[in-house]
């Protein structure tokens, strides 16, 4: 996973969603995104055994 810039991501994504971020919330939202990205990073590269059974559970 490449380095994650929460402020840059926040600005781009909020604009795409037409979601205004109050100025006084911007840093706190970015901090929350950074915390979530750390969690996502834990799951990004994990090797899952028995992946075929997993695919069948997550498919529709």
């Amino acid at each position: 996973m490449t380095s994650f810039d929460p402020h840059a991501y926040l600005d781009a994504c909020a604009a795409a969603l037409d979601l205004p971020i109050p100025v006084d919330q911007r840093d706190a939202v970015a901090a929350n995104l950074a915390r979530l990205e750390l969690l996502a990073r834990q799951l990004a590269d994990v090797e899952l055994s028995s992946c075929s059974s997993v695919e069948s559970q997550t498919g529709t």
């Binding site: 991501y9 970015a30 979530l36 996502a40 559970q57 997550t58």
Partner: protein, 452 residues
């Protein structure tokens, strides 16, 4: 048997007394409403008390008994529900100013209907963290709920009102909702039983925010039997008395689950382990990653349907949750989908674990209830933010869809702490049997707080 008008009376004791005409449903409801009225200013467990509805319903139960019509297994038992559950005629606020001006619910949620069909009487809605986002019930737009065992402490959350109302003896039975631990955590800090049922077994119609893939409604009470009765009614499954003689393979979770807990929580786990003769320790599969996956899934799902509120009236969100909901609305699909993919794999690993063991003992919370307003916890020499740390032991189980029961541990009047029991999907009966054994041995105990 306990006096059915006593705050310590359990749901099944009240129903038995009403069935035998020792007391009327109207007397029981009047008694509960009087206790709520007396204690509510200090505890603030309720967001709405449905007085007229409860009194009318009690009269109908009494009429049924006089007419020799079957009044239901929980005849005349007062109960209350987390404020995310629809109660007809009441605004479903979920503790959020975003919803306080909504129209009242036009009908009861399925879970309320099922309990009232069994004769129970809904007396109101209970306080919670805003939209379930929190672990201390401090982010409610109605203000915080206080722990009846010590009013300076949090009851936990997000179902803090549901746990506090039980601990104060306001009602003998409540409903909570649990995604990352919101039933199990406050049950531990208030010294009551709280069941997170197998996900998908309790109907979700009429529950605000129930569209996610992790959360479920579940019963909370002051004895195992009431939990088992409530579970049977909520799920439509046959009721079976919990038994203390079942032979089950019980093990204690090691590693992650034996670290980051204080002496109170550790001694509670040890008391349960010794009482059950659980010599084996089992490694729960990859708790750090399962916790990460559950948090990511829950975060993303918590923002579903919230974009309009976040765009048009973000100032209505509690200052403590506003930034979290905004961030949750921005979670990329790849994070969410990867977390769901991991979660499915992890669940298969947990099911494999249950080939070797029936019931796993784990801590419910790392400590007793923190003070209201306390922002950090110090455990094993490290300082942690209070909210995330309180869910340290409930969150790794959240994505498994398996049932988990918090059992309150007898502590001789000190602030409560509970222990989690965890089983394979649809094996709630095993949790109830183990809990019943702990109850019979005096290890598990749920007392009424002497509210000062």
């Amino acid at each position: 048997m306990t006096d059915p008008l006593s705050p310590a009376a359990t749901a099944h004791e009240i129903a038995t007394s009403i069935h035998s005409r020792d007391v009327s449903a109207s007397q029981v409801v009047e008694s509960a409403l009087a206790r709520i009225s007396a204690l509510e200013p200090r505890i603030h467990a309720f967001t709405h008390v449905a007085i007229e509805r409860a009194v009318a319903r009690a009269r109908r139960i009494d009429d049924a008994i006089r007419a020799n019509r079957p009044p239901g297994r929980l005849a005349g038992v007062p109960f209350a529900v987390k404020a995310m559950i629809d109660v007809a005629g009441t605004v479903t606020t979920a503790g959020s100013a975003v919803h306080v001006d909504d129209a009242p619910a036009s009908q009861d949620a399925d879970v309320v209907q099922r309990l009232e069909h069994a004769g129970a009487i809904c007396v109101g809605a209970l306080n919670m963290d805003e939209l379930g986002m929190g672990g201390t019930t401090e982010s409610s737009c109605f203000g915080p709920t206080r722990n009846p065992h010590d009013l300076a402490h949090t009851p936990g959350g997000s179902s803090g009102g549901s746990a506090a109302a039980l601990a104060a003896g306001m009602v003998p039975f409540t409903l909570g909702g649990d995604a990352l631990g919101s039933i199990r955590l406050p049950a531990s800090l208030c010294g009551v039983y709280g069941l997170r049922p197998t996900r998908g077994t309790v109907p979700a119609r009429g529950v605000l925010g129930a569209g996610g893939s992790i959360g479920t409604v579940g019963p909370m009470a002051r004895c195992v039997r009431d939990i088992a009765i409530g579970h049977a009614i909520l799920t439509g499954e046959s009721y079976r008395n919990p038994t203390t003689t079942t032979s089950l393979r019980v093990a204690t979770a090691g590693g992650y689950f034996s670290e980051h807990l204080d002496a109170d929580a550790a001694s509670a786990v040890e008391a349960v382990r010794q009482a059950l003769g659980a010599r084996d320790t089992i490694e729960f599969p990859d708790p750090q990653r399962s916790k990460a996956a559950a948090i990511l899934v829950n975060a993303s799902e918590s923002a579903v349907g919230r974009l309009r509120d976040l765009r048009e009236r973000v100032d209505r969100f509690h200052p403590g949750t506003r930034a979290r909901f905004l961030a949750h609305a921005l979670v990329p699909a790849q994070w969410y989908l990867n977390a769901q993919r991991y979660r499915a794999w992890h669940k298969s690993q947990v099911l494999a674990m249950f080939e070797r063991v029936d019931v796993v003992i784990l801590p419910a919370t790392p400590c007793i209830a923190p003070m209201l307003g306390q922002t950090t916890l110090t455990l094993a020499g490290q300082t942690w933010p209070t909210g995330p740390m309180l869910g340290w032991f409930t969150q790794p189980l959240a994505g498994t869809d398996c049932p988990a029961l918090t059992v309150p541990i007898a502590r001789g009047g000190r602030l409560p702490v509970g222990v989690q029991l965890f089983a394979a999907p649809h094996r709630e009966h095993q949790l109830f049997d183990v809990a019943a054994r702990l109850e019979a041995l005096g290890i598990a105990e749920s007392g009424i707080a002497a509210v000062s």
